[in-house]
């Protein structure tokens, strides 16, 4: 019975999603296939089909700009992940305290996410500009030696991007994690209070483990944002000073539109695809493992009940 119902459900689901699947196969998969294919050609201004093997990849990994871009995305990605999740979580905990004005605050925190990254980038570029941003303001208040202008120094410019990224990403993370927090039964909190467990321990040992789903969602959202970060860089630094804030996506676009080297751009794009595939594979694997475990647990419970 249950089996049959499941199958029928799945069939109708498939019928419903067929148009979407055609689009997905037609556009995404074919697009990806061409990207990969061209990465093995010596395409210059226009794509061609002269195969050259791994030559483009070889050259790619000898290009300083690409190496800087890869290093940057690690710095940017890890810092953003840690801080956006941390800030988002703290904001969510704060919002969960039955504070007044919750709706207003939530809108304020979500506002950055609603804005285009170009706008975010420009706003932060101004704020971090030594001539009229934070540094200027603090100096005009009397601290003449105050320095905060990360974007002009090649060594720190990437951290300027990180700050803007965190500002932009914390709000959504907060919204997702807040939904997760609200989903936790009030009686769990009561039980923990009766057990005399300090609040921070309840969060760490009970609540956060229960929020794995929403934390995972936030994680994936941030990760995807990191891999394709482009507009923020273009708006804030244009990849500079020098090549110091290059990112893979910026590199790909520049290769195609400025260096007229489609082959190498496609090689870079193909490399970018790998971490995305890895993340998706990991999530899929995690799902399979957890459903297996849950099914086994239910079976065991039924056997003993």
């Amino acid at each position: 019975m249950a089996q049959a119902r499941k199958r029928r459900l799945r069939l109708s689901a498939i019928i419903g999603t067929v148009p979407m699947m055609i689009v997905a196969i037609g556009v995404y998969v074919i697009g990806i296939a061409f990207t990969v294919f061209w990465s093995f050609t010596d395409s210059k201004l226009f794509p061609n089909s002269t195969l050259v093997g791994f030559k483009q990849y070889h050259r790619l990994w000898q290009d300083d700009r690409w190496l800087v871009a890869v290093q940057n995305i690690w710095i940017f990605g890890i810092l953003l992940m840690v801080f956006a999740l941390a800030f988002g979580f703290l904001l969510a905990v704060f919002m969960d305290q039955e504070i007044r004005q919750e709706d207003l605050l939530r809108s304020i925190y979500l506002y950055p996410f609603a804005m285009s990254l170009i706008v975010t980038g420009l706003v932060w570029q101004w704020m971090l500009d030594p001539n009229f941003g934070i540094e200027h303001t603090v100096r005009s208040l009397g601290w003449a030696n105050f320095q905060f202008s990360p974007l002009v120094d090649p060594n720190t410019a990437i951290y300027g991007l990180v700050v803007a990224g965190i500002w932009q990403g914390s709000g959504v993370t907060m919204a997702i994690l807040l939904a997760g927090l609200r989903g936790i039964d009030a009686e769990i909190w009561k039980a923990a209070r009766i057990d005399g467990i300090p609040i921070w321990r309840v969060y760490i040992f009970i609540v956060i483990p229960m929020m794995r789903g929403s934390i995972g969602t936030a994680f994936v959202l941030i990760a995807v944002g990191v891999v394709r970060v482009y507009d923020l860089v273009v708006a804030m630094t244009g990849g500079g000073p020098g090549i110091s804030t290059n990112m893979p996506a910026v590199y790909v676009i520049d290769m195609i539109t400025k260096s007229y080297n489609v082959g190498q751009g496609m090689a870079a794009a193909t490399i970018m695809l790998l971490p995305v595939i890895a993340v998706i594979a990991l999530i899929g694997l995690g799902r399979i493992v957890s459903t297996r475990r849950k099914n086994a647990a239910i079976l065991r419970a039924e056997a003993t009940a």
């Binding site: 057990d195 009970i206 229960m210 647990a297």
Partner: protein, 360 residues
């Protein structure tokens, strides 16, 4: 004072402008099993949460074991609590659930192990210790939740509808087990439910609540046999009591042609009062069959509706123009429209003042 395990004095609790509990007083003796019973929204859980310290009270005092704990943290009150939703920590094993609070409190490891072993033996959950709650059935989960209260080694147990999420059979099983647990441990238990059967079977004393007040506090027998007011009389018993409004004059209840001399009735006040009154008669106290002859008052009625329920049969009739339910033996052969002779025993009936609705 000293022999009271839990004392609630003049407790008032407001949620904003809403008064949920009003000057409520309740003294519970050492080792007593108290059931808070009432319809939904009457403030049972609220009272329990106040005793537990999960809600800050607006006025009054709460004493546990001779100590004023009104402003003490829940963990410092010497209580354990079991919830309707079990409220187990889902990512921890059963053992983790039982020991987490003790670990946090810095109880030595050997002591923790001893207590977990004892609790799991009492509740027969030893084979489940290494499982996650998601791998347990509802009954097993609630056992673990009781175990979590047990390992705290406290004198007072609070239960908030612990069996409501279980199916009927499991509920009956676990009910007996809770009773056994109480006999074994002999500690004070305060138990919230809206199930009459649970209340009657478990309680030493039942507190019937309505709108934030305790309507009556008494043993199950007192509550059942001598309800203090019409609300309690109506609330307890299933099928519920028959009520007939009339006049009480010189020890005789009358309504039109119907007269019931209240000989043998145990009045609440020494002076038998007079005036508008309501008589309440439980369907199961109406005498039928061969025994009718022995009943002091006998009436002839007509059968309207018959509801066979297996072990017994509920017969609907009419007395003095009011619907009147009679509980008969399951084998009783009665049919719609047939005449029926019933007997009433005034000593087992209840009389209420028509206005104050208090027992006369």
């Amino acid at each position: 004072m000293t022999n009271h395990s839990v004392s609630v004095k003049d407790l008032t609790l407001n949620f904003g402008a809403v008064k949920v509990l009003k000057n409520l007083t309740l003294d519970i003796s050492e080792g007593e099993f108290i059931v808070l019973l009432g319809s939904s929204g009457c403030g049972k859980s609220t009272l329990l949460n106040c005793i537990a310290g999960l809600l800050d009270i607006s006025d009054g005092e709460i004493w546990i074991k001779g100590k004023n704990v009104t402003w003490a943290e829940p963990a410092d009150r010497g209580i354990g609590m079991v919830f309707q939703s079990y409220a187990l920590y889902p990512q921890m094993s059963v053992r983790g659930n039982l020991s987490f609070g003790l670990k946090t409190a810095g109880v030595p490891r050997a002591e923790i192990e001893k207590r977990v072993a004892r609790a799991s033996e009492v509740l027969q959950i030893e084979p489940l210790l290494d499982r996650k709650p998601s791998a347990l059935s509802g009954g097993q989960r609630q056992r673990v939740a009781i175990g979590r209260a047990l390992v705290r080694d406290v004198d007072v147990f609070l239960f908030d509808e612990p069996l409501s999420n279980l199916d009927a059979k499991l509920r009956a099983d676990l009910r007996v087990e809770i009773k056994r647990l109480h006999q074994q441990l002999n500690n004070t238990m305060i138990y919230v439910t809206h199930d009459q059967v649970e209340a009657m079977t478990l309680a030493d004393r039942i507190a019937i609540m309505k709108g934030g007040h305790i309507m009556q506090l008494g043993t199950p027998d007192e509550i059942y046999s001598r309800p203090q007011n019409r609300y309690v009389a109506d609330f307890i018993g299933s099928p519920s009591m028959n009520f007939i409004d009339g006049q009480l004059q010189d020890g005789v209840f009358a309504r039109g042609d119907l007269t019931i001399p209240m000989a043998g009735y145990n009045y609440a006040s020494p002076q038998p009062p007079g005036g508008p009154a309501t008589i309440g008669i439980r369907p199961e106290h109406v005498v039928t069959g061969e025994l009718v002859g022995n009943a002091p008052v006998q009436l002839d009625v007509t059968v309207d509706i018959v509801e066979p329920m297996g072990s017994d049969t509920l017969v609907w009739t009419e007395v003095a123009g009011e619907r009147f339910r009679v509980r008969m033996d399951g084998h009783a052969q009665v049919r719609h429209g047939e005449p029926l002779r019933i007997g009433i025993v005034p000593a087992r009936a209840s009389l209420f003042d028509a206005k104050s609705e208090l027992r006369l």
